[in-house]
């Protein structure tokens, strides 16, 4: 990355902590854990010990038993395994599933795939602040409902759902509850030993670990099980076949340990940065904070303004690296389905900028973002037509 870049896209991925990189490098060295942990010789057993040490660290972060964690390639695979695997395991009991319109595509797409396979999916709409109304969830539960999936922290807005309350409702109806916690693990306190969560997806690169490694938590309780969606070797309790990437797992474990130790400090830091950023731009004419400020993880601030085009706003922001409200995987400029579900019109959704920051972000970074955002909005408004088409 260019030295001049100001990286404020932590919700997309976080920079690897140098301590994590060191641990991974040690693992990749000749005397490190390069051997296949499934091998029963000395070198294999050494690698397996590293894998289990990392699993324990991650388990410690989540307050769970290590055997409840299945290593995956990331949150997308964990989401797929949880949703498709749980639906398959309980298909004989019913085929009704519930999720939200504001979920990440790693969740919505598996549900859409299941819909095509004959499952009935209820898609819940959030309120204007992005929150799920618990009574709306209760109203949708049926005799044949088997799974509810609601993400913990929304990747676009930072909105925090009340997963304890959602889990309680699901438990009361004998329905499995899955949460995509890619944006919250390592950032917000989570003690799953005292929360009614059955399945939880995570990925290490959102908390300063490496990309390409994640995990699925599967609660150890009756009726909570998933069927594998891939078939091969017997790794990971026959749940997820494939040779384990030891160096990435070591990196994930190290990152989990650091996150646990430094979470309180990281949260305070993120809150101070968010407040500084919002104070610096809140008087921009017409600005809206997507998802509000109250029920939001402080490392994410999503804002929209009327009268500007999203892609031009992104270029005007340079050297700040943030995310746009336009679809990540599209060149069409299609606006965010998440923000539209919150009631934003296409123009406001398309002008959305998501700033996200964390441990390594400085006040100077935020000040650059404030200066560039204000300039970009002023500039684009100064050259814009004086009225909307058709008005």
């Amino acid at each position: 990355m260019s030295g001049a870049a100001v990286y404020l896209d932590f919700a997309a991925t976080t920079p690897i902590d140098p301590r994590v990189a060191d641990a991974m490098q040690s693992c990749l060295s000749p005397g490190g854990g390069f051997a296949n942990p499934a091998s029963i010789h000395i070198a294999g057993r050494a690698s397996a010990a590293l894998v289990e040490q990392a699993r324990q660290r991650l388990a410690h972060l989540l307050g769970v038993d290590p055997h409840c964690l299945i290593w995956t390639s990331g949150a997308t695979e964990a989401d797929n395994l949880a949703i498709a695997g749980a639906a398959a395991f309980r298909a004989h009991r019913g085929k009704h599933l519930i999720t939200m319109l504001t979920e990440h595509k790693a969740v919505t797409e598996p549900f859409r795939h299941l819909e095509k396979s004959g499952y009935d999916v209820s898609w819940l709409k959030p309120d204007a602040d992005g929150l799920l109304a618990i009574d709306e969830l209760e109203a949708q539960l049926r005799e044949d409902t088997q799974l509810v999936s609601v993400m913990h922290v929304n990747n676009e807005t930072g909105v925090i759902q009340d997963i304890r309350r959602i889990g309680e409702v699901c438990r009361a109806h004998d329905v499995l509850f899955h949460t995509d916690a890619a944006q919250s693990v390592g950032k917000l306190p989570l003690n799953l030993s005292e929360m009614p969560v059955d399945l939880l997806s995570l990925t290490a690169h959102k908390f300063h670990g490496p990309q390409g490694i994640g995990a699925l938590y599967i609660a150890d309780r009756p009726g909570c099980k998933v069927l594998p969606i891939m078939h091969g070797g017997g790794q990971e309790q026959r749940m997820r076949p494939g040779s384990l990437p030891v160096h990435q797992i070591v990196g994930a474990g190290t990152a989990a340990g650091i996150a646990r130790d430094e979470m309180a400090e990281d949260l305070l830091h993120a809150s101070a940065l968010r407040d500084r950023l919002w104070q610096g731009i809140q008087d921009v004419s017409g600005i809206l904070c997507n998802g509000g400020i109250k029920h939001v993880y402080p490392g994410i601030l999503s804002v929209s303004v009327p009268g500007v085009e999203g892609e031009s706003l992104m270029l005007g922001l340079e050297p700040v690296c943030a995310a746009s409200g336009s679809a990540c995987n599209s060149t069409s400029g299609e606006s965010s389905y998440v923000l539209r579900a919150l009631g934003r019109d296409d123009a406001l959704a398309q002008s959305a900028i998501r700033f996200s920051f964390g441990r390594t972000t400085t006040k100077d970074d935020i000040d650059v973002a404030i200066e560039r955002y204000r300039w970009a909005v002023d500039h684009l408004r100064s050259i814009a037509p004086l009225h909307s088409p058709g008005s």
Partner: protein
Amino acid sequence: MFATAAYNEAVRRHFADPQHAGDLQKDHDLTLVAEVSESAEGAHIVMSAGIRGDTIAGMAFRVRGCPHLIAALELACRILTDQPVASLENYDSANIIQELSVPVEKAGRILLLEAALATLWAQYASDED
């Protein structure tokens, strides 16, 4: 996002400092104004041409659109200023697309520029009638 939307130096220069953005001075024999838009929420252009005799004496634009469109409008204004009015007729933006290295999937947006210029020409032609 916008994985293919890299911006060359010309796009960056015209985007940051579009000399023809704004409104036209009203000291011309004839002022033509064209307004075109992609959709209610998409790109929106207001383009003006000041005519003196049979020459385009000045041009200006206002736009809500992507960086390539902003740069294309600025470039078109630079190219067409001081040219015969007939230059507006059937204007081909291929040279602008090339100079700005507009990605293939965004070339359609640049056609809005051609639509605006065609509207200006139609106004001129009808005024001449």
